[in-house]
């Protein structure tokens, strides 16, 4: 029998090793797997390269992982926002690396990683500072930059519902990077608000087919990041 459900977030992340590349879903707090991130803080793996659109808010979730000095390098498109204090400070002090990638290029590089495409060309960032060091090539009289795929050792993803095969559906705009990150990691670890019976997700409406998922943990009442930030909470509590 196939059963990808594991009993806890801590169990789910136990194999993450020092130096791993870890993708973390979410656009701001929407879709951010905060319980898995907190389990990773407890677990303690260090020297991580994290691929995520942002760098977290306040002192919880991704920001707390960074604050706990577990992250060597961030690969993201928008590393600052209204409530992000941790990353900017470390960055200004030269204590964390940043690879800045246009958002669509970031998405496509992840998708390519999952699809076995080592590189592709995109018009985004041509003639800007972000094309520096990259191959530029003309197709049909227009310039494009070559971008390489990104793959991870682990992806941490949040979804709305999962079954024991690992089929997933998401909630609204919390879908964002989840489906592509699921495809691009050696091991994909998912937190699901609900575990449902096999066959209860409409096969026409599955967003992430189970083949892309390795482990699922049920987090039925995930924390609301913005509330934790508003209350100025810190993880570890």
């Amino acid at each position: 029998m196939i059963d990808k459900i594991v009993e806890s977030s801590h169990k789910a992340v136990e194999e993450i090793f020092d130096g791993a590349i870890v993708m973390i879903s979410g656009f701001g707090e929407a879709g951010s797997p905060i319980e898995l991130i907190h389990a990773l803080i407890d677990q303690g793996a260090r020297d991580l390269t994290v691929v995520s659109n942002n760098t977290g808010s306040g002192h919880v979730g991704l920001a707390a992982l960074i604050e706990n000095r577990q992250v060597r390098k961030m690969i993201c498109s928008f590393p600052r926002s209204a409530n992000s204090k941790v990353f900017p400070e470390l960055y200004k002090n030269g204590e964390i690396e940043l690879e800045l990638v246009p958002q669509g290029t970031l998405a496509e590089r992840i998708r390519a990683g999952g699809a076995g495409i080592p590189a592709f060309y995109t018009p985004a960032s041509v003639d800007t500072p972000l094309e520096e060091g990259k191959e530029v090539r003309v197709f049909d009289n227009r310039k494009y930059v070559m971008e390489k795929s990104i793959r991870a050792d682990f992806s941490l993803v949040k979804c709305r519902a999962a079954d024991r095969y690992g089929n997933l559906v998401y909630n609204k705009t919390a879908r964002n990077f989840g489906p592509i990150m699921c495809t691009a990691a050696e091991t994909t670890i998912v937190q699901a608000k609900e575990i449902v019976e096999l066959g209860s997700i409409d096969p026409e409406a599955v967003v992430t087919p189970g083949i892309f998922v390795n482990r699922v943990v049920n987090v039925s009442d995930p924390a609301d990041e913005s509330r934790l930030v508003a209350e100025n909470l810190r993880y570890p509590w």
Binding site: F27, P79, Q103, A124, P179
Partner: protein
């Protein structure tokens, strides 16, 4: 007779209204964060326009009523929004397929600088030590069919934002189609910057004084 209060330039709402007037029925539109967001509320009645937000929603509706916010239903500015009937959700690679693949008709963006040939700088002032952050801006200007810039004509300190060449790092080269400022509406074309309309109280000289690039008056 009461004399009308004399006024120079358009208000931000008037600027956004000018942009909105140029958005056609059936258009797929992406609105940047800040001033561009005002456009949605000002599209003339009778036009059905569909808003795309690059974090994964086509058919974005107005902000929710207070107390009905869903932190998992947000726009690219991370503000809570709603979804209209006929909306749909999708992941980021599909969202940027819409952008990069030239499926979005219009994108309205803010600007730090726009150059004479339509170069746009809107993501970084290039200051050392600043945290660079680009988001989807470079994809949008590379992929959306028509790029409108909405911006004050000058910076807060009175520097021109429309310039011969951008001094800030570029978002994209030769990408802007039209600029809506508080002083004028300017098309970017092969002939250069063509002034299409001037705001009340603005004349050629006034506009040229506040512009760092050549202007064409047709």
């Amino acid at each position: 007779m009461v004399e009308k209060e004399s006024k120079t330039g358009w208000s931000v709402i008037e600027m956004a209204g000018k942009v909105a007037g140029d958005i056609q029925n059936g258009a797929y539109v992406n609105l940047g964060i800040g001033m561009p967001e005002l456009v949605a509320g000002l599209v003339p009645e009778g036009r059905e326009v569909i808003y795309h937000t690059e974090n994964g929603l086509l058919g974005m509706g107005p902000p929710p009523e207070e107390g009905r916010e869903d932190p998992e239903l947000i726009n690219a500015g991370k503000k809570c929004v709603t979804a209209i009937p006929g909306a749909c959700y999708f992941h980021h690679a599909d969202s940027f397929t819409m952008i990069r693949g030239r499926h979005i008709d219009v994108c309205v963006l803010g600007a730090l600088q726009v150059s004479e040939n339509g170069d746009l700088a809107n993501w970084s002032t290039g200051e050392p030590g600043a945290i660079p952050a680009v988001g989807g801006a470079m994809d949008l200007v590379a992929g959306v069919k028509t790029i409108y810039v909405i911006s004050k004509h000058q910076t807060k300190t009175g520097e021109p934002k429309i310039v011969r060449e951008c001094t800030y790092p570029l978002t994209g080269k030769q990408v802007v189609d039209r600029i809506y400022t508080d002083l004028a509406i300017i098309d970017v074309g092969k002939e250069g910057l063509v002034v299409r309309e001037m705001a009340p109280g603005v004349d050629r000289e006034y506009l040229m004084e506040r512009t760092g690039a050549r202007l064409v008056f047709p």
